[in-house]
Protein backbone atom coordinates (compact mmCIF):
# COMPACT_ATOMS: atom_id res chain seq x y z
CA UNK A 1 0.00 0.00 0.00
CA UNK A 2 2.82 2.39 0.84
CA UNK A 3 4.43 1.62 -2.48
CA UNK A 4 1.31 2.75 -4.32
CA UNK A 5 1.11 5.80 -2.06
CA UNK A 6 4.68 6.79 -2.96
CA UNK A 7 4.18 6.42 -6.67
CA UNK A 8 0.99 8.46 -6.74
CA UNK A 9 2.49 11.01 -4.35
CA UNK A 10 5.41 11.69 -6.63
CA UNK A 11 3.20 12.07 -9.66
CA UNK A 12 0.77 14.45 -8.00
CA UNK A 13 3.45 16.43 -6.16
CA UNK A 14 4.76 18.13 -9.25
CA UNK A 15 1.35 19.27 -10.45
CA UNK A 16 0.22 20.23 -6.94
CA UNK A 17 3.26 22.43 -6.27
CA UNK A 18 2.94 24.23 -9.57
CA UNK A 19 -0.78 24.79 -9.03
CA UNK A 20 -0.06 26.11 -5.54
CA UNK A 21 2.42 28.66 -6.85
CA UNK A 22 0.14 29.75 -9.66
CA UNK A 23 -2.82 30.07 -7.29
CA UNK A 24 -0.76 32.40 -5.12
CA UNK A 25 0.77 34.30 -8.03
CA UNK A 26 -2.66 35.11 -9.50
CA UNK A 27 -4.31 36.08 -6.22
CA UNK A 28 -5.06 39.56 -7.40
CA UNK A 29 -6.74 38.53 -10.66
CA UNK A 30 -10.54 38.28 -10.47
CA UNK A 31 -12.03 34.78 -10.05
CA UNK A 32 -8.60 33.17 -10.36
CA UNK A 33 -9.82 30.16 -8.38
CA UNK A 34 -12.41 29.42 -11.03
CA UNK A 35 -9.83 29.47 -13.81
CA UNK A 36 -7.45 27.25 -11.88
CA UNK A 37 -10.22 24.76 -11.15
CA UNK A 38 -11.06 24.75 -14.86
CA UNK A 39 -7.44 24.00 -15.67
CA UNK A 40 -7.36 21.09 -13.27
CA UNK A 41 -10.65 19.69 -14.56
CA UNK A 42 -9.53 19.95 -18.19
CA UNK A 43 -6.21 18.35 -17.28
CA UNK A 44 -7.88 15.44 -15.51
CA UNK A 45 -10.27 14.84 -18.38
CA UNK A 46 -7.34 14.94 -20.76
CA UNK A 47 -5.32 12.63 -18.54
CA UNK A 48 -8.03 9.97 -18.64
CA UNK A 49 -8.30 10.35 -22.41
CA UNK A 50 -4.53 10.20 -22.76
CA UNK A 51 -4.24 7.12 -20.57
CA UNK A 52 -6.73 5.23 -22.70
CA UNK A 53 -5.28 6.50 -25.96
CA UNK A 54 -1.74 5.71 -24.83
CA UNK A 55 -1.29 2.72 -27.11
CA UNK A 56 -2.36 4.61 -30.20
CA UNK A 57 -0.09 7.53 -29.40
CA UNK A 58 2.85 5.24 -28.84
CA UNK A 59 2.51 3.48 -32.15
CA UNK A 60 2.38 6.81 -33.93
CA UNK A 61 5.89 8.13 -34.35
CA UNK A 62 7.50 4.68 -34.50
CA UNK A 63 7.42 4.05 -30.77
CA UNK A 64 8.33 7.62 -29.92
CA UNK A 65 4.79 8.97 -30.04
CA UNK A 66 4.54 9.46 -26.31
CA UNK A 67 7.82 11.35 -26.17
CA UNK A 68 6.82 13.72 -28.97
CA UNK A 69 3.48 14.31 -27.29
CA UNK A 70 5.06 15.00 -23.89
CA UNK A 71 7.60 17.27 -25.52
CA UNK A 72 4.85 19.28 -27.21
CA UNK A 73 2.85 19.49 -23.98
CA UNK A 74 5.90 20.73 -22.07
CA UNK A 75 6.78 23.25 -24.76
CA UNK A 76 3.33 24.82 -24.62
CA UNK A 77 3.31 24.82 -20.80
CA UNK A 78 6.70 26.57 -20.77
CA UNK A 79 5.41 29.11 -23.27
CA UNK A 80 2.31 29.78 -21.15
CA UNK A 81 4.29 30.22 -17.93
CA UNK A 82 6.87 32.42 -19.64
CA UNK A 83 4.16 34.54 -21.19
CA UNK A 84 2.46 34.92 -17.83
CA UNK A 85 5.70 36.06 -16.22
CA UNK A 86 6.44 38.56 -18.93
CA UNK A 87 2.87 39.83 -18.82
CA UNK A 88 3.09 40.20 -15.05
CA UNK A 89 6.27 42.21 -15.46
CA UNK A 90 4.49 44.84 -17.52
CA UNK A 91 1.04 44.77 -15.92
CA UNK A 92 1.53 43.23 -12.52
CA UNK A 93 2.23 46.38 -10.59
CA UNK A 94 -0.89 48.08 -11.90
CA UNK A 95 -3.01 45.15 -10.84
CA UNK A 96 -1.49 44.88 -7.42
CA UNK A 97 -2.20 48.54 -6.77
CA UNK A 98 -5.76 48.66 -8.03
CA UNK A 99 -7.18 45.24 -7.42
CA UNK A 100 -10.78 46.20 -8.04
CA UNK A 101 -10.51 47.84 -11.40
CA UNK A 102 -13.00 46.54 -13.93
CA UNK A 103 -13.51 46.73 -17.65
CA UNK A 104 -10.39 46.74 -19.77
CA UNK A 105 -8.22 45.57 -16.93
CA UNK A 106 -10.50 42.66 -16.20
CA UNK A 107 -10.27 41.55 -19.79
CA UNK A 108 -6.47 41.64 -19.70
CA UNK A 109 -6.63 39.71 -16.49
CA UNK A 110 -8.66 37.06 -18.22
CA UNK A 111 -6.10 36.70 -20.94
CA UNK A 112 -3.42 36.15 -18.33
CA UNK A 113 -5.66 33.68 -16.51
CA UNK A 114 -6.36 31.70 -19.66
CA UNK A 115 -2.62 31.25 -20.16
CA UNK A 116 -2.39 30.02 -16.61
CA UNK A 117 -5.35 27.67 -17.09
CA UNK A 118 -3.63 26.15 -20.10
CA UNK A 119 -0.38 25.71 -18.18
CA UNK A 120 -2.20 24.02 -15.30
CA UNK A 121 -4.28 21.84 -17.62
CA UNK A 122 -1.17 20.63 -19.41
CA UNK A 123 0.76 19.93 -16.22
CA UNK A 124 -2.20 18.05 -14.74
CA UNK A 125 -2.55 16.18 -18.01
CA UNK A 126 1.06 15.00 -17.99
CA UNK A 127 1.23 13.91 -14.38
CA UNK A 128 -2.37 12.77 -14.32
CA UNK A 129 -2.07 10.39 -17.26
CA UNK A 130 0.68 8.45 -15.52
CA UNK A 131 -1.41 8.29 -12.36
CA UNK A 132 -4.48 7.16 -14.30
CA UNK A 133 -2.48 4.39 -15.96
CA UNK A 134 -1.23 3.32 -12.58
CA UNK A 135 -4.77 3.32 -11.15
CA UNK A 136 -6.00 1.30 -14.08
CA UNK A 137 -3.31 -1.27 -13.37
CA UNK A 138 -4.49 -1.46 -9.78
CA UNK A 139 -8.06 -2.20 -10.71
CA UNK A 140 -7.00 -4.91 -13.08
CA UNK A 141 -5.65 -6.87 -10.13
CA UNK A 142 -7.47 -9.07 -7.64
CA UNK A 143 -9.87 -7.80 -4.99
CA UNK A 144 -7.57 -7.83 -1.99
CA UNK A 145 -4.79 -5.93 -3.65
CA UNK A 146 -7.26 -3.47 -5.19
CA UNK A 147 -8.34 -2.28 -1.76
CA UNK A 148 -4.84 -1.98 -0.39
CA UNK A 149 -3.37 -0.37 -3.50
CA UNK A 150 -6.40 1.85 -3.89
CA UNK A 151 -6.01 3.11 -0.34
CA UNK A 152 -2.35 3.78 -0.98
CA UNK A 153 -3.11 5.67 -4.15
CA UNK A 154 -5.71 7.87 -2.46
CA UNK A 155 -3.25 8.50 0.36
CA UNK A 156 -0.58 9.52 -2.11
CA UNK A 157 -2.99 11.81 -3.92
CA UNK A 158 -4.04 13.50 -0.66
CA UNK A 159 -0.42 13.90 0.44
CA UNK A 160 0.51 15.50 -2.87
CA UNK A 161 -2.45 17.87 -2.77
CA UNK A 162 -1.58 18.76 0.82
CA UNK A 163 1.93 19.77 -0.20
CA UNK A 164 0.51 22.05 -2.86
CA UNK A 165 -1.81 23.61 -0.33
CA UNK A 166 1.01 24.10 2.16
CA UNK A 167 3.12 25.81 -0.47
CA UNK A 168 0.21 28.09 -1.35
CA UNK A 169 -0.38 29.01 2.28
CA UNK A 170 3.31 29.57 2.85
CA UNK A 171 3.57 31.86 -0.15
CA UNK A 172 0.52 33.87 0.89
CA UNK A 173 2.34 34.76 4.10
CA UNK A 174 5.07 36.59 2.24
CA UNK A 175 4.82 40.37 2.70
CA UNK A 176 3.22 42.06 -0.28
CA UNK A 177 6.25 44.09 -1.27
CA UNK A 178 8.25 40.89 -1.93
CA UNK A 179 5.36 38.67 -2.92
CA UNK A 180 5.23 39.10 -6.67
CA UNK A 181 8.98 39.01 -7.00
CA UNK A 182 9.12 35.69 -5.18
CA UNK A 183 6.26 34.10 -7.09
CA UNK A 184 7.59 35.32 -10.42
CA UNK A 185 11.00 33.85 -9.66
CA UNK A 186 9.46 30.58 -8.57
CA UNK A 187 7.40 30.32 -11.75
CA UNK A 188 10.49 31.12 -13.77
CA UNK A 189 12.43 28.36 -12.05
CA UNK A 190 9.51 25.99 -12.65
CA UNK A 191 9.54 26.89 -16.35
CA UNK A 192 13.31 26.38 -16.50
CA UNK A 193 12.89 22.97 -14.85
CA UNK A 194 10.28 22.06 -17.45
CA UNK A 195 12.73 23.10 -20.15
CA UNK A 196 15.29 20.70 -18.69
CA UNK A 197 12.69 17.92 -18.75
CA UNK A 198 11.81 18.81 -22.32
CA UNK A 199 15.45 18.51 -23.29
CA UNK A 200 15.64 15.10 -21.59
CA UNK A 201 12.66 13.79 -23.53
CA UNK A 202 14.18 14.94 -26.81
CA UNK A 203 17.48 13.28 -25.89
CA UNK A 204 15.63 10.06 -25.06
CA UNK A 205 13.94 10.16 -28.46
CA UNK A 206 17.28 10.81 -30.14
CA UNK A 207 16.20 14.20 -31.47
CA UNK A 208 18.94 15.99 -29.54
CA UNK A 209 22.38 14.88 -28.36
CA UNK A 210 23.24 15.16 -24.67
CA UNK A 211 26.56 16.82 -25.61
CA UNK A 212 28.18 16.41 -22.21
CA UNK A 213 26.71 13.87 -19.82
CA UNK A 214 26.84 14.72 -17.03
CA UNK A 215 27.78 18.37 -16.99
CA UNK A 216 28.11 18.17 -13.23
CA UNK A 217 27.23 15.71 -10.50
CA UNK A 218 25.62 16.96 -7.30
CA UNK A 219 24.29 13.61 -6.13
CA UNK A 220 26.66 13.76 -3.15
CA UNK A 221 24.98 16.94 -1.92
CA UNK A 222 21.40 16.34 -2.91
CA UNK A 223 20.69 12.74 -3.90
CA UNK A 224 17.94 12.40 -6.50
CA UNK A 225 16.17 9.75 -4.39
CA UNK A 226 16.19 11.73 -1.18
CA UNK A 227 13.23 13.73 0.15
CA UNK A 228 14.85 17.03 -0.75
CA UNK A 229 15.89 15.73 -4.15
CA UNK A 230 12.36 14.55 -4.91
CA UNK A 231 10.91 17.88 -3.80
CA UNK A 232 13.39 19.89 -5.86
CA UNK A 233 12.79 17.68 -8.86
CA UNK A 234 9.04 18.14 -8.59
CA UNK A 235 9.38 21.89 -8.19
CA UNK A 236 12.19 22.98 -10.48
CA UNK A 237 13.16 19.80 -12.29
CA UNK A 238 16.33 19.28 -10.28
CA UNK A 239 18.72 16.76 -11.81
CA UNK A 240 21.79 15.55 -9.94
CA UNK A 241 23.56 14.70 -13.19
CA UNK A 242 22.20 16.96 -15.90
CA UNK A 243 23.42 16.85 -19.45
CA UNK A 244 24.77 19.96 -21.12
CA UNK A 245 21.73 20.13 -23.36
CA UNK A 246 19.39 20.13 -20.36
CA UNK A 247 21.32 22.92 -18.68
CA UNK A 248 21.34 24.84 -21.95
CA UNK A 249 17.57 24.62 -22.30
CA UNK A 250 16.99 25.68 -18.70
CA UNK A 251 19.37 28.63 -19.03
CA UNK A 252 17.75 29.66 -22.31
CA UNK A 253 14.36 29.92 -20.63
CA UNK A 254 15.79 31.68 -17.57
CA UNK A 255 17.72 34.27 -19.53
CA UNK A 256 15.08 34.62 -22.23
CA UNK A 257 12.24 35.35 -19.86
CA UNK A 258 14.37 37.64 -17.70
CA UNK A 259 15.37 39.72 -20.70
CA UNK A 260 11.85 39.83 -22.08
CA UNK A 261 10.46 40.83 -18.67
CA UNK A 262 12.98 43.62 -18.34
CA UNK A 263 12.05 44.89 -21.76
CA UNK A 264 8.34 44.65 -20.96
CA UNK A 265 8.77 46.54 -17.73
CA UNK A 266 10.36 49.47 -19.50
CA UNK A 267 7.73 49.64 -22.22
Amino acid sequence: MLNAAFIVFRETLEAALIIGIIAAATRHLPRHGWWIALGVALGLAGAVGLAFGAERIERWGAGMGHDYFNAAVLAVAIAMLSWHNIWMASHGRKFADAAHRLGNSAKRGEIALSAVTIAIALTTLREGSETVLFFYGIFAGDGASVLSLGQGAVLGLAAGALCGLLLYRGLMRIPVRHFFTVTSWLLLLVAAGMAAQLAQILIQADVLPPLVQPLWDTSRWVAPDSGLGTLLHALIGYEAQPSATQVGFALAVLVGVMLASRHARRA
Binding site: N3, I7, A51, A54, E55, E58, R59, A62, G63, M64, H66, D67, S129, E130, L133, F134, Y136, G137, A140, G141, Q200, I203, Q204, A205, D206, Q213, P224, D225, E239, Q241, S243
Partner: protein, 68 residues
Amino acid sequence: MQAGQKRQLLIENQDPTAEEFESHTLHREKIIPPHSSVNLFIGPLKPGRYDFIGEFNEATAKGVVVAK
Protein backbone atom coordinates in the same frame (compact mmCIF):
# COMPACT_ATOMS: atom_id res chain seq x y z
CA MET B 1 26.32 -3.26 -24.69
CA GLN B 2 29.39 -1.41 -25.89
CA ALA B 3 30.51 1.54 -23.83
CA GLY B 4 30.76 4.80 -25.72
CA GLN B 5 28.04 3.89 -28.20
CA LYS B 6 24.44 4.93 -28.60
CA ARG B 7 21.95 2.07 -28.71
CA GLN B 8 18.22 1.86 -29.21
CA LEU B 9 16.31 -0.21 -26.70
CA LEU B 10 13.06 -1.92 -27.52
CA ILE B 11 11.13 -2.50 -24.32
CA GLU B 12 8.20 -4.86 -24.47
CA ASN B 13 5.34 -4.88 -22.00
CA GLN B 14 3.57 -8.24 -22.09
CA ASP B 15 1.22 -7.49 -19.20
CA PRO B 16 -2.34 -6.20 -19.44
CA THR B 17 -1.37 -3.22 -17.29
CA ALA B 18 0.86 -0.26 -18.01
CA GLU B 19 4.38 0.09 -16.70
CA GLU B 20 6.85 2.93 -16.37
CA PHE B 21 10.42 2.14 -17.34
CA GLU B 22 12.70 4.27 -15.22
CA SER B 23 16.41 4.51 -14.60
CA HIS B 24 18.08 7.23 -12.59
CA THR B 25 21.54 6.28 -13.79
CA LEU B 26 20.52 6.09 -17.44
CA HIS B 27 18.35 9.23 -17.10
CA ARG B 28 15.41 7.63 -18.84
CA GLU B 29 11.73 7.53 -17.99
CA LYS B 30 8.96 6.22 -20.23
CA ILE B 31 5.47 4.82 -19.95
CA ILE B 32 4.80 1.52 -21.71
CA PRO B 33 1.12 0.83 -22.41
CA PRO B 34 -0.27 -2.71 -21.95
CA HIS B 35 0.68 -5.27 -24.62
CA SER B 36 2.91 -2.72 -26.34
CA SER B 37 6.53 -1.88 -26.82
CA VAL B 38 8.39 1.39 -26.84
CA ASN B 39 11.72 2.58 -28.19
CA LEU B 40 14.22 4.72 -26.46
CA PHE B 41 17.86 5.55 -26.96
CA ILE B 42 20.56 5.18 -24.38
CA GLY B 43 24.26 6.01 -24.43
CA PRO B 44 26.97 6.78 -25.08
CA LEU B 45 27.74 5.26 -21.68
CA LYS B 46 30.87 4.92 -19.66
CA PRO B 47 31.66 1.32 -18.71
CA GLY B 48 29.61 0.15 -15.75
CA ARG B 49 26.34 -1.25 -14.54
CA TYR B 50 23.18 0.80 -14.92
CA ASP B 51 20.08 -0.29 -13.04
CA PHE B 52 16.56 0.17 -14.27
CA ILE B 53 13.17 -0.62 -12.78
CA GLY B 54 9.52 -0.81 -13.65
CA GLU B 55 8.23 1.89 -11.37
CA PHE B 56 4.72 0.50 -11.09
CA ASN B 57 6.01 -2.89 -9.93
CA GLU B 58 9.27 -1.89 -8.34
CA ALA B 59 9.66 -4.99 -6.19
CA THR B 60 9.75 -7.38 -9.10
CA ALA B 61 10.52 -5.39 -12.23
CA LYS B 62 14.27 -4.87 -12.23
CA GLY B 63 17.11 -5.12 -14.64
CA VAL B 64 20.58 -3.96 -15.47
CA VAL B 65 22.32 -2.62 -18.52
CA VAL B 66 25.99 -3.51 -18.51
CA ALA B 67 28.29 -1.39 -20.61
CA LYS B 68 31.71 -2.75 -21.38
